[in-house]
Symmetry: D4
């Protein structure tokens, strides 16, 4: 496995039958396979071909882990995933599951609205009590939430723009640009790129966890 | 005067000598003349040609009112102008002076940073005590402030994107798009269009003031 | 309810069954629920689940209010909604219904063509007799109408670009840009954002109405 | 001379000394030379090298005709050029001078504001009395004027977007897109392309004039 | 009828049943109705509702004229329509039928490829023998053909970009930009706007025809 | 100080005299002040006003630290900064100095060309021996280097697009898009945003360093 | 046949029945016909109408050659086609088949990942042993592979961006821009334009082959 | 030297003094140095520091070769460079000089206008008599010329868009897009990238020349 990152199967643009086959081959080889950007046909074929005890679905079934019972080996890293609206949850889930498959404990907070800043401040201090090592924040429309969160914490925050909205700046464009222009310290991934955000957050968390364990970071051989 | 809006002289794209001449003609005809988007040459020529007691400068001298002592007749409307950063002040000033010339009392709050949300909430309740009839919020970079302000008040809030920032979404593009995508109820004007924002806010405030005075809105003759 | 704005359910991007459920819950909690951007499936499911006396449809059934008989409490504000072509009506209706749900009397003028300026001038003076407190103008293609209307009245005019047209500048882009560049005093919302336009216009109208009633604007608690 | 079009010298992007040389060569060969998009250096060098009686300047000196007394041979075609604002005049002048050099009588109407539609309608009927064979309309900002004019006449109207404005849609972009999306029958040339507009309008007017003279259109040899 | 232009029914964005109804009403009122941008459902419903002798289809059935036997009154104007590829024909047909409905004789040349310039030159001189008063050239991909044609004739040439191609500049964007940048004298309409091109070309041709008939251009009443 | 980030003075868009004043005030208050995006006037005024022993310049003098002898307190975090070409160095320096001011040890590798992949692989294993906690990679033109580096290491890599190149995709656009589309796990900041990249990398490194020290991450009070 | 290039039938935008007819006519006239950008309906109709021994399919059946047994006459030119991911193969196949139909020997290497640079270097030296005369490299997402390949060989390399990816720079835009900005010597064709890339590579290879055969390049008659 | 390409010094973005130093170092090391994208300061400093017999300037002095008498070793490859307008010549010269430095004989044809197709056809057959191995065509505005040339010859043609024009599609954008959409077989480089075009053309010509010499292509060591 290359430099400590989860390999995943991108269902989009592949024949649904091929997705099932590739997933089974991955599971046979590695014990677990992550599949992202599923459509309804993918879901049906996977449910027909694989037993429910071997399928761990993300919320709204856009992401799934297929496994043969092989567990993920825990790293001790902690990743929080925050989102504001219903439409952001599938992207947040993609990030959460990737981080989880990379060995991290994950904390999902999916009901944080920017509208009510009072409430946000309250929840942030609650979040702090979990001491996450890194935070992914998914946000569509005008993409404000990552900026706000990064101003309230001192761990690295990764913004993921979500392809929502209509009109000018729709499909995540306004969110991406406003994260890139953010006055907070924020790193960004592409629109809907929950996978990259989750893997990047897990890289951070796993580095911190190794340090916590007194281990030196393993040099790549 | 057309439908209750301030006519102004846009200095940009005119010969500086012509700007002085046009301004003097305006003052002779109407008593007062507003000039916007001044550069340094404009400032020098105006200061050379016109006595200081006849010049009311906006902060940073990008906007000026030339007058012969004729006062503005007050309407009783109240317009607040809010901005977050130093770079936004010239645009905020353009809006403030237009609203003032249209007869409104203006309240300028130019030190509200998005970074510190605790402080913002405090200042907002202070702002409320002034009971503005409308609020202009100028913001560059990612343009968050108008969204936040509109979520905290119940009077109309007009967002003005400011042409700051570098890289993708620079020059006010991210700010404009994020205001258009805002989850708050927000009306928007073009990038740096302090003039339009101030005139629009004054239209609202003057409508409310007329109603407060028990007057019917004057129909256009 | 946050700062005097209508909460609405955006049908787009939600499972149609969920839309029905959420709407029913809203009605149980608040008496009335507004749903926007309906498709045909939404319409069918709503008609199957809810009695016709509890459904108030916008023209072309893209917007609906579900209610249990609870009336809207009237504010005395007056909002006019103007559009030019058939294609602009669904967006205009979204604006009208939001303003109506926020307590305003609404005046819909949907047959004003820019083509015939003589006729337009006639209708504008007729409009003036209704003394609207604010005006929403929906326009697609090249989006001229809001500019023209704003030049003829002295109340605030909000332009809503509509996603019509084909070729360069299609889908409301030309209309948005031309409203942002307008020489008239105009505030703008995003393409097809009838909801924001209607809520913004109602905010203005309700402010004026409160002033007319001699009431001070209610401070947010 | 190719298919009845004026050849012109584009000053922009050429060494000012070369412009003078090329112009003189043209005059020696053809009697007259048209130069467009002059800057201040061009103007100075031309005035130094060529007598004033041999120079016919456009308003604001962005366009000039150099000649040795050779007159233009009149075709009888009539071209009207209309513009709305000060900033549009240099582009309008470019169109006017090209049409004039191609033998047309030209009518320049440079003070038509879109703001006052009543006045516009009046001037249009006045314009009609000149019976122009084609009309060029130059307009910046939101570019409304060509649409309005084309709705009031039955001769071909050519819209020229002008590179004015700031913010989104600036530099003629909004004007170009709104002319392309226009509901009127309008043909368009590129932003600031007064030359093309004037030449195209003259082609039309000269065709009509030939027909008026009972001449068949001359076939290209 | 407004200023001598064909009114047409744009089928796109209307319910197919409504298109039939509107068309019938037009025919009852005016004798003839032009419908553009038809899809397959439109075609089926029209064929079911209206007898074949009352339907004049454009090639590929994207445009149709419905009539009750009322003929078009001929003006004597002559419009040529040229296109290069199969994909351009539907747009060319829209232009041709509009011009025909506006009383012009039309000449359609749909097999002119840019590839073979030798052949093009031959066909152009053949075209000249028809003495068209104006020429519409439809071209997709890189949109070269209008530039070439305009360099070979001395009548006005209108370019219509066609929404073909894939990759960068696809859907007519490269064609539109290259026509706007053309070194020839060319006026342009929006991508796929055969309607506008045809109506504009007919305006020219009808002006010329009136002059040929010794008639003054009819002033608009 | 807010959530452990360096505050810096953005020289761009401020009067050079003001930059000196603000910097001095910062130094008086905090001991050290970082100034970014300097131009030549800034450099001159700073050198005139402040002694050389109080100025630590970045390479090419686009970034400077002003201080009164107060040292940075070291965190133990290690940040590597990599760039490929001469043009990328000023951006890389901005990142390096921010990370250094935030207490990190920094390793600058500015001579890594993508051209020679053999050499790159060699240098990467050398880099690994420094065991950086995070890596910033600055790259212009097509922005390949961050993708390549991230594929070779297992610590978090942050890509900074640099505004180089000419033609399509120039000024960092191609670099930004290609980093967002990267097949490697990469987080991105805006074009030329060395400041954000350095601060983000330092946040990571400082988190790891705290863990290494057996300290819990300090919760924000 | 025009200047030594394959004529092909672009299935996209043609009626599937017409594609079959046109193909049969081509085969009758020339012996062989290439059809590109097939969809599933095209495939079905072709398989129904034409015997399998007369159909040579590209991988994934997006491209096909129909023939009546007439062989391609071999030129001796050698073209290599390289791609990185599954999604790039259909575009690579289009290039390969065109080059093959133009008489070249083709070498397809479709499993070269940018991720593993060690492996790439290995495969490149293997590729060199085939001594291709030109190389087509198809790459989507961030489009790195052509840059890398061109840095490792001394024959002409043509990059083809592939329309993969989501978010900013998706559908081949990032790949196209990064190839245009490449620091290597690279010529580019449009997104997904395998046809053009293959034909261009074959032009090169056939030129080299002619030179190898001691033949002068045939002048066009 | 890497894979047979000319290394050049890009003057743009370097201090003019540094350009002189780097050039001298190159000449000392290799005998010859190519410098591109010179401005007037570069020219002055180079002429002051280096004797005229050691400087070979491109037309308009945007490109120069500095040498100490060391000759280029000729390959026998032949590259033609064609351009249409004055503005395209500096880009064409950059391509020509690179090809020349890479050992090719170069043929420059800089007076080919698209306007006169008759003349073009004549010149093309003359060009054919030189039997170039590859052709670079530089074209701005609408970028037609490379398409036309490629349709007339059977050697590889590389299009270089030139950053001319104003308005929509200016600065080479229309030219780039129309070359990418071209119906001819054309490979493209970035706007103004004469360097890449010349180097690519020389790669082709040198491959053909090696084959002509009966030599196998030299494998990279
Ligand atoms: N800063 C500004 N932004 C937008 N419009 C302006 C500005 N300043 C003046 N204007 C308006 O621009 C129009 C043209 O101004 P002028 O060119 O001075 O006649 C007038 O209607 C002014 O009211
Ligand atoms: N294909 C078309 N392109 C542009 N405008 C059209 C087209 N077809 C009809 N129109 C015009 O579009 C306007 C609106 O049409 P309708 O929506 O049918 O009332 C009318 O003025 C028609 O003349
Ligand atoms: N996939 C393709 N991409 C680009 N051009 C193509 C493709 N397939 C065919 N062509 C060319 O497109 C032109 C028009 O094709 P057609 O519409 O079939 O006459 C012909 O010159 C073909 O050689
Ligand atoms: N005009 C040019 N366009 C594109 N690349 C160039 C140009 N001139 C020089 N180069 C290349 O740019 C790269 C960086 O140049 P330098 O910054 O001088 O080291 C080298 O690989 C040069 O070969
Ligand atoms: Mg958000
Ligand atoms: Mg802001
Ligand atoms: Mg409109
Ligand atoms: Mg205008
Ligand atoms: Mg074409
Ligand atoms: Mg790079
Ligand atoms: Mg790639
Ligand atoms: Mg050209």
């Amino acid at each position: 496995q290359r430099t400590g990152i989860m390999e995943a199967i991108l269902a989009e643009g592949k024949e649904p039958e091929d997705v099932v086959k590739i997933a089974k081959a991955h599971v046979d080889a590695c014990g677990r396979a992550l599949i992202t950007r599923l459509n309804e046909t993918n879901v049906k074929l996977l449910e027909a071909a694989i037993g429910p005890e071997q399928l761990e679905w993300g919320k709204y079934k856009k992401t799934v882990v297929v496994h043969n019972g092989t567990p993920v080996s825990k790293t001790g890293g902690v990743v929080a995933i925050i989102s504001a609206g219903t439409a952001d949850i599938t992207v947040a889930e993609e990030a959460r599951i990737v981080a989880s498959e990379m060995g991290c404990e994950t904390i999902a907070i999916y009901d944080v609205g920017v509208a009510g800043f009072h409430r946000l401040v309250g929840e942030m201090s609650k979040l702090q009590s979990h001491k996450p090592d890194s935070i992914v924040v998914a946000a569509g429309r005008e993409g404000t939430l990552p900026t706000v969160v990064s101003g309230l914490v001192d761990v690295p925050v990764i913004g993921v723009p979500v392809s929502t909205g209509y009109g000018a700046g729709a499909k995540g464009e306004a969110a991406l640009l406003s994260m890139l222009q953010s006055c907070s310290v924020l790193a960004v991934v592409n629109i809907d790129a929950g996978f990259v955000a989750g893997a990047f957050a897990a890289r951070i968390a796993n580095s911190v966890a190794r340090a916590r364990d007194g281990k030196n970071r393993e040099t790549q051989s």
